[in-house]
Structures are given as structure tokens and as C-alpha cells.
């Protein structure tokens, strides 16, 4: 047997965007050799979410619908994935590189005694071997890697790098029964710390503020621009360490690694550790009053100027567009 099995993640009843991206990439790669693409979905009462997967290219959905899987646990979900692997016998197992996927992929890999490739940004198929590109040294270098002939090849895909596109089609649902997983580490509670705000790790547009905004109160200006473009608010470490904004907003080596379609950095110098978190963004915009700020080296567009003079008219111009 061959093919690609994709672990898909849901939030409430929706399949997450990063998982649809992973299914779509699996479909594109599998088209060459004509491999089957399957998905595995775990949870309690999640059968409804399975139907949309066919449209993205999954021909089969392995469904682990089990009251033990109501909340995520690496041990429980690994049992579900391994069961699907036994049935599908895939050449590769894909995960979206979300908090859940990055946690689960290595646990599954170790359970089936193979290695894993994390945070992959490009994939090609050479025979049965997936050749992956992944940033290393915080994006200062790119490595071309594979799983040294071991199969199945366990791979997590960086969110927002691969396109999700519908191809039309429908999936057959296969129930995975008799899982009875041993779960020791149990999620007792999911606290919403986002306050309804979009998380930078998931946002398609991010506007980040750094020390150049002068004080915590001026995040209001950053937020205004973010709201105007429908984006999330990010930050440099300097302002997180200063207590101007919470760590969950931090982008960079010790914060979140993001790849939005648009990243606007205002009053951020562009230290190597900040670039580590955002240099794979599709379009980068810098607003900085220092023409020599390193952020301009990675910027696609930039304005040399005082952010307090540039951002308000930007917000006005953007509002005019809609």
C-alpha cells in the first residue's frame, strides 16, 4: 500500500484551515504517482466535520469518534492516528504544524519507531521519498531533508505556506472502533486567553509594534491599523519584556513563528531573532524612522518615517478602500 494519510484537526465543528492546507498539499503530491489520500479525524461527535474533507481531496476519512477523545491528548490522539496508519498503510503521514500537530506528530512517530520532519515549508516527491525543505537556525538557513529511507514519513507542514484549494470529490467514512487508549495526561480545561482576539499564529495579516511605539498606550494605534486591515496584533520581544503587551503576541525566535500573507512591522528594528519569526511572510512592510534599520533588508515595501505620522493617514486611506 502507499498513499498519504493526513491528521486533520478541528475547532468546534470546523476543520482548521491549516489542516485543509495539509490535505490539499497531500492531494497535489499524490496526483503524480496516483496515490490515495486519506484523512484521520478524532474527537467526540465529530462525524459531521468529515464530509467537507472529500472536497479537498481525501478519498477516505478514518473517523475516531470516541468519548475518550473529546479533548485533545497526545496519547489518545496518537492511538487514533496509529490505528488509521495500520489500516491505510500510508507512505507518509502529514500533520498541520499547529500547537496540536507539532505536539502529536513526534509522539506518533516514536510510537511507530520512525523519525519525523517538522515545520516543513516545501515538499517534492522523488519516487516514494518526500524531500522536504525546512528552515533551520531560526530561518538563517534552509535545510533539504528526508527521513533516510524510513517509512511512513512523518511530516508537519508549516501553516499558511501551502495553499488550501477545493478539488471537488467526496470521501468514504471508515469508523475506527475499539481504540480504548491509555490516556494519562488529560486536558481538564481550555482557557480562552485570546479574549476573542485573533492569534498571530493563525492570522493572515499581522501588524506588529516594537519599541518605536514609545509606550504601551500606543498599541492602540497598532490595533487601529490591524483592525483596518482585518489583522492580528504582533509585537517584538523588547515590548513584551517591557510589559507593554502579553507574550502571546510576540513574534520571533522565542515567540511565535508566523507566515501571514502580509506582515507590517512598525517601530521594529529587525533583530535577527525577530526576523526568525516572520521572514517567511509573503509580503513584508516596514515602517521605521531609521533608514538603516535591518528590517528594511527583508521588507518588500517600506516607509522611512515616523510611525506616528505615517500610520494615521494609512488607516484613513485603507478605510477609503472599502
Amino acid at each position: 500500500m502507499a498513499g498519504i494519510l493526513v491528521f486533520v484537526e478541528r475547532r468546534d465543528s470546523e476543520i482548521r484551515a491549516a489542516s485543509l492546507q495539509a490535505v490539499s498539499e497531500a492531494r497535489r503530491l499524490a496526483a503524480g504517482p496516483g496515490w490515495p489520500v486519506a484523512a484521520v479525524l478524532a474527537g467526540d461527535g465529530v462525524a459531521g466535520a468529515a464530509s467537507s474533507l472529500g472536497g479537498y481531496g481525501a478519498q477516505k476519512v478514518y473517523l475516531a469518534d470516541d468519548s475518550n477523545l473529546k479533548t485533545y491528548s497526545a496519547e489518545g490522539y496518537a492511538a487514533a492516528v496509529v490505528k488509521a496508519v495500520e489500516q491505510a498503510q500510508p507512505s507518509a503521514i502529514f500533520f498541520a504544524g499547529t500547537a496540536m500537530g507539532r505536539d502529536l506528530a513526534p509522539r506518533v512517530a516514536a510510537r511507530i519507531r520512525v523519525g519525523a520532519l517538522a515545520d516543513v515549508v516545501e515538499l517534492t516527491l522523488e519516487g516514494e521519498t518526500l524531500v522536504a525543505r525546512r528552515p533551520v537556525y531560526s530561518g538563517k538557513a534552509l535545510a533539504t531533508v528526508d527521513t533516510a529511507g524510513k517509512s511512513p514519513q512523518v511530516i508537519s507542514l508549516r501553516p499558511n505556506v501551502f495553499a488550501a484549494d477545493e478539488a471537488g470529490g467526496s470521501a468514504e467514512v471508515v469508523n475506527l472502533d475499539g481504540l480504548s487508549p491509555t490516556i494519562r495526561a488529560v486536558v481538564k480545561e481550555l482557557k480562552d486567553t485570546g479574549g476573542g482576539e485573533l492569534d498571530v499564529a493563525e492570522a493572515d495579516i499581522i501588524v506588529s509594534g516594537g519599541r518605536g511605539i514609545k509606550g504601551p498606550e500606543n498599541f492602540a494605534l497598532i490595533r487601529e491599523l490591524a483592525d483596518a486591515v482585518g489583522g492580528a496584533v504582533g509585537a517584538s520581544r523588547a515590548v513584551v519584556d517591557a510589559g507593554w503587551i502579553e507574550h502571546k503576541h510576540q513574534v520571533g525566535q522565542t515567540g511565535k513563528v508566523v507566515s501571514p500573507s502580509l506582515y507590517i512591522a512598525a517601530g521594529i528594528s529587525g533583530a535577527i531573532q525577530h526576523l526568525a519569526g516572520m521572514s517567511s511572510s509573503k509580503v513584508i512592510v516596514a515602517i521605521n524612522k531609521d533608514p538603516d534599520a535591518p528590517i528594511f533588508k527583508v521588507a518588500d515595501y517600506g516607509v522611512v518615517g515616523d510611525l506616528f505620522d505615517v500610520i494615521p493617514p494609512m488607516v484613513e486611506e485603507i478605510k477609503k478602500l472599502s
Binding site: A110, G115, K140, E202, V304, V310, P313, M314
Partner: protein, 259 residues
């Protein structure tokens, strides 16, 4: 409360990366090696736990000769024991092999809690902890920013997108530590002096039943610098910020189609 902390020795985060002559590794001449930043949170947490509850902190690393310096740093901060599994070659992190080696070295050492970093800075994998937990048949909680350890169990807060999962687990368990968990201490002079007298136990990989390089799970075909980016369109906005703003919005709308 015995803690085992896995620490990796990595290039200083400010290092300018150059590609090695073989094209599959980085040029390691003149690299300054440091304890991987997330492993500092792991060590600090273990030190605080044993200070409060008694027991010992053992630090373990699998790495080449220079990795001993990382262990000395951990001893200077207060770790009780250090184990250096000696590895001749450096690599970009074959996570599963590293996990197998660590599992073999740890399994017979008493431990209530194993602590790792959330990811090794450089390999940027974030895999070894989870793999190690599976190989040792321990529950794990990854990406932990809050931790309370009680009698025989722990409660950990783990960061996920837009929220925090509160996880309970029996001990022994493994956690991977994220920024926010604590503020790592610096080594005091007294600690540095004391560390010089503490032994570092050396373990040969072969004695753990693993033959180095014989059965890899990760192959690095090439390492390259990221393609140089074309120079961007930079607008001088000092004199006419409003005009610059309008021009930028137009470029983003019509050129990049990003808004």
C-alpha cells in the same frame, strides 16, 4: 522529587550562519556554543522544584566534546549531577536517534519528572521531548508556561492558539518548557567554583546499544542560506508622511494585492 533535564548545546542565537564546505552542515569554526535557550527554563524549573521539595537535578546532554561546557554551566547554576553522552559527530538533529540515546541513558536513573526545552534552537524541531516520553512510556505535556507539581501528579498550563490547555498528569511525566514558565537564574561565582569540582559522568553511545550513524532516521541532503531577497520598494516619508502612507496603501492594494 528527582528531576532529569535534557539540555542541548547550540550555536549562540546571534551567530552569523555560514555553510560548511560539505554543503550539508554549517561551518562551526568560531561558533560560540550556548545552552539552548528553552532548556534554561527547563533547568530553572527543576532547580526550583528540588529546592522546594528536595531531591536532585541531573542534567543530560548528547553531544560532542564542547557540550561539556553546557553541562558545567548547568552545574554552576545548581544542578547536582551531569551526564555527558559523548557523540563524535555533530548533526542537525536526528530527533529520533537523539531520543533513543537519551531514553537508554535515562531509563534506569530515578526520576519523577523529565524536563526538556520546547524546541532546540537551531534544529527548531520541537520533537525530542515527545519522542523521549513515548520511548520511556511516560505521559508528556509540551509547550508548558505554568507548572504545579503535587504528590504524584502535576498540573501544567500549555499554550495553544488563542488559549491555554490546563493538563493534569500523574508522575513520572515529561514536560517541555516554554518562555514564560520562569526567569532563569545566572550562575553565581560560588556556583561556578563549586561546579569545577563536580564530576561530569561520561557515557559512550555504544554502551547504550546505539551505533552512531548506523541507522539514521533523518538525512540532511543540503543546507543553504535562504535565497537573497530582492530589494524592496522603500518610500522616503519624512517630509510627506501622508503622501507616503497613501502611496504605500496603493502599492499594497494594487501591486501586492495584500489588502
Amino acid at each position: 522529587m528527582n528531576c532529569i533535564v535534557c539540555v542541548a548545546s547550540v550555536p549562540d542565537t546571534a551567530t552569523v550562519i555560514k555553510i560548511g564546505a560539505d554543503g550539508t552542515s554549517i561551518d562551526e569554526t568560531s561558533i560560540k556554543w550556548i545552552i539552548s535557550p528553552y532548556d534554561e527554563y527547563a533547568l530553572e524549573e527543576a532547580l526550583q522544584l528540588t529546592e522546594a521539595k528536595g531531591g536532585e537535578v541531573t542534567v543530560v546532554t548528547f553531544g560532542p566534546a564542547h557540550a561539556e561546557a553546557t553541562l558545567r554551566e548547568c552545574l554552576a547554576r545548581g544542578a547536582h549531577q551531569a551526564v555527558h553522552i559523548v557523540n563524535g559527530a555533530t548533526s542537525l538533529g536526528d530527533s529520533f536517534t537523539i531520543a533513543k540515546v537519551l531514553a537508554a541513558a535515562i531509563k534506569d536513573r530515578p526520576h519523577d519528572l523529565i524536563l526538556c526545552g520546547f524546541k532546540g534552537v537551531g534544529t527548531d524541531n520541537g520533537q525530542v521531548g515527545q519522542m523521549l516520553a513515548e520511548l520511556l512510556d511516560r505521559p508528556h505535556v509540551a509547550n508548558v508556561t505554568q507548572l504545579e507539581v503535587g504528590e504524584g501528579s502535576l498540573t501544567a498550563g500549555r499554550e495553544v492558539e488563542g488559549g491555554q490547555e490546563v493538563v493534569e498528569s500523574p508522575l513520572p511525566a515529561l514536560v517541555t518548557c516554554q518562555k514564560g514558565l520562569n526567569e532563569p537564574r545566572y550562575a553565581a561565582l560560588k556556583g561556578i567554583m563549586a561546579a569545577k569540582r563536580k564530576p561530569v559522568e561520561k557515557v559512550e553511545v555504544a554502551s547504550l546499544g546505539v551505533e552512531e550513524g548506523a541507522d539514521p532516521f533523518y538525512a540532511v541532503r543540503a543546507v543553504a542560506l535562504p535565497p537573497a531577497k530582492e530589494a524592496g520598494t522603500i518610500i522616503q516619508g519624512e517630509d510627506d508622511p501622508a503622501g507616503a502612507a497613501a502611496q504605500l496603501v496603493k502599492l499594497l492594494r494594487e501591486g501586492a494585492k495584500a489588502i
